[in-house]
Amino acid sequence: MVEDTDMQEEIHAEDTLEQVAARMAAARLHQRIEASEIMANLDIDSRAAQLGIDWSQVNLDSIHLPPGENFGIESDDEGVYHDDQLEFDTGFGNIIVVDNLPVVEKTKFAKLENVLKKIYNQLGVIKENGLWMPVDLDTGVTLGYCFIEFNTPQEAQNAKEKTHGYKLDKSHIFAVNMFDDFDRLMNVKEEWEAPQTKPYVPGENLQKWLTDEKARDQLVIRSGPDTEVLWNDPRQKNTEPVHKRPYWTESYVQWSPLGTYLVTLHKQGAAVWGGADTFTRLMRYQHNMVKLVDFSPGEKYLVTYHSQEPSNPRDASKVEIKVFDVRTGRMMRDFKGSADEFSIGGPGGVAGASWPVFRWGGGKDDKYFAKLSKNTISVYETETFGLIDKKSMKVDNVVDMCWSPTDSIISLFVPEQGGGNQPAKVALVQIPSKVELRQKNLFSVNDCKMYWQSSGEYLAVKVDRYTKTKKSTYSGFELFRIKERDIPIEVLELDNKNDKIIAFAWEPKGHRFAVIHGDQPRPDVSFYTMKTTQHGGRVTKLGTLKAKQANALFWSPTGKYIILAGLKNFNGQLEFFNVDEMETMATTEHFMATDIEWDPTGRYVATAVTSVHEMENGFTVWSFNGKLLYRVLKDHFFQLAWRPRPPSFLSPEKEEEIAKNLKKYSKKYELEDQDVSLLLSEQDREKRRALKEEWERWVMQWKSLHEEEKLERQNLRDGEISDEEEDDEEAREVKEVEFEDVIDVTEEIVQE
């Protein structure tokens, strides 16, 4: 530490701390270079020859250096150690500067030093000669500050934090700074400058797609390596590209629930894309090997999921789930554990947990999310990302739970226990109070499935019950009216109790539901309503369609229209049905269709054949009433998803008013439609004309070449006078006359 004191002398001589720092660094560097030069110059062999030592005679292991002596040669190990030390030192991270000390004369210097040592020895180990208090050279009076060097930067940091503002006495309040901070602090301007207000740079309008002049909707498709975002342009009977990127995602893509973001999955994690015109990356979320993602309904949070297959097949797979804030990209909470903790052995329990593990509740506020696990339901709140009341809800043997789509109400199902001694039950629980609002016990139940209506007004529970013999089951419904007083429950049984229920679907935002029931391959479809004028609050059947080739139901997002679809075994039968009028609008087929998706406005429907089939991959867009608009063929077609729209800002009254005066509003658009279709046919004609012209040019060229080569051809045929060739044109004309005759003949036959 001799050098250190030397340096301190220098510090004393110079005034600016900057220069001090530079000098100190330079001095140390010099030292290191010297050391390395010694090493480099050491040519062992030449030295040995000089000294007349035969290396082969020397047993190196027998040589022991006196302890503490290295003859000026550093061992390799020491070098490494030393390097670390040097890095430590050059940082000056372990030095603090204490200001506002009392200015004392030489006589009191030692006393002050002792006081300071006392204070700072409590907070860390001061290095030997680590305290340095400069004095005025002429008078020997201290300058009112000192440097203290600790053993570690941590101690220095700690000392700074603890003693900054320490009151030695009334007029001496310590101001402590890190030595490293001085550069920065020296640069602080003497006069206070008003912070410049940065000009506001507006962020991109993430919802610009909603302002499309033609009010079109976007969709994303994946085919082969490409992911494309397209406008659906039904007027042009085609799509218009927005953004295309090969290898955009490594597994799939997903829109956020309000359509603001498109999320892509990668090895390193997930990323969201969006923006005004092109899709730029807005945020990344680091999660290695992410497999699944899920947004909260208000798109504030993104849940990512990763599961790792266990090395031992008997173990459960490892699961890691992270919850991110979508906008800031901050991880709010992560959950780790074995797959058992995240599932209850239900569907999907084999490879990992059933997705989504966390179900978001409470509508668009993203306030709560819940997890179902064995005998418990854990409800978390997003304010603290902790459990509500710091504990999970205990519900023995619970197997299923659903949130109301709008309110913070959970519906849960507990199956029968003790061989039927304890009945199954369906209960509604209010969150966060955890009060049970309503419950119903059900007997001889095999299974239950819960369906919430989209505005949270009704809950339908499909109950499969055993028949008396327990050999087979039959189904019925329990219908809860959530918004009415005391939540009345109704029981609905199908006309034919033994019918199997194939599909069930609520009308979005409406009061009707559709059920496919009966036996394959020609089941019946029935429609029911929860509201009728005659019956008051009774569920009533609207009608039944007999023997339909359907196994799936797709309501328009605005209600009223529904598609009865026969997917898979039915090869893509589609029936577009108007439930208001109870009439079929169109029956058609998209052969082998695997997926059906309504656009968010309910104006168009896309049906797709994905690559589960080898052929005819691609999608078809239909109008809401079943008119085919256009087809797009894409090989290796994987996915199609419409971009969702956020809910409308119009009040229900306003919407109704628009619906009433639709004629007035639609006039403008009809004219536009007409213009477009005129323009389109004009463009089409133009295109065709160009193609024809181009073709004519080729044909002319071929003809002239053919003519030129005529003689050569004859020669190749041994000079055979190819009369037919010369008369080609004539022959063709003759032939054409011939077939006109044929036409006449057939017409006569038809007349007979």
Partner: protein, 328 residues
Amino acid sequence: MRPILMKGHERPLTFLRYNRDGDMLFSCAKDHTPTLWYADNGERHGTFRGHNGAVWCCDVSRDSLRLITGSADQTAKLWDVKTGQQLFSFKFGSPARSVDFSLGDKLAVITTDPFMERTSAIHVKRIAEDPEDQVSESVLVLESPNGRKRINRAVWGPLNQTIVSGGEDTVLRIWDAETGKLLKESDAEVGHKNTITSLTKAADDSHFITGSLDKTAKLWDMRTLTLLKTYVSGVPVNAVSMSPLLDHVVLGGGQDASAVTTTDHRAGKFEAKFYDKILQEEIGGIKGHFGPINALAFNPDGKSFSSGGEDGYVRLHHFDSDYFNIRI
């Protein structure tokens, strides 16, 4: 009009060929006997017996007197059409995949498959006027640059100056028929992305159409190898043909035969699809086969066409008058 179903083969059809006058139709199939039919009413005229393997391809001379066939029995044979007698047999060490007579019928181009250690090759044989003088030596042998890939079809270019070939390596090549030099290759960017299964040229040798398993057919200029048109089918294309009368092309194919039984019969799309040659738009389709279509041929008068399928049937279609008035 109702098609005429010609049931003469017991195995899948492989090739169909009309003679120049349009009154005879030759069919080849995986059974060993090429068959001659009356192109008008579909009656069988006779068979050519002698091959001992699937017959892949045939061609008939301009005067309709000679027939040449290529077969998996590693021979190509010359036949007397009148008598059905075999005139000569070219022997190869591997199956003969395609045959084509030159203009003037003095030369024939024969392609052979890669087999054992042999690579695929294109052979040019001189065809003697008198079968007595026929020799089996090749005038020219072209080795394909991608020897382990099959050449599915090779035909003569204009004035016998070039040979155009296409096959499993998806590249179309133009060769000098004199020197055997490779003159041109199709652009990989615009060319087929999968095996080229078929190649049919226009009557005046000015352009030709290729079908491919990449589910498209493409129209090319025969001299410059310029891509003119692409027809998108949605199913693998096994056979292509062009109407000599109207600007129509017809594509045949369908799901691979091995996958057929697993799905609905409509799934295979075993249609002969008609396209507007210029606008590249689909006009219509003719269903009927219950297996993929392997062969298509237009009658030189353009008023009838026939299709041959994996199902072993040849379907002969005479067009209704409506066909000639199609407007799109």
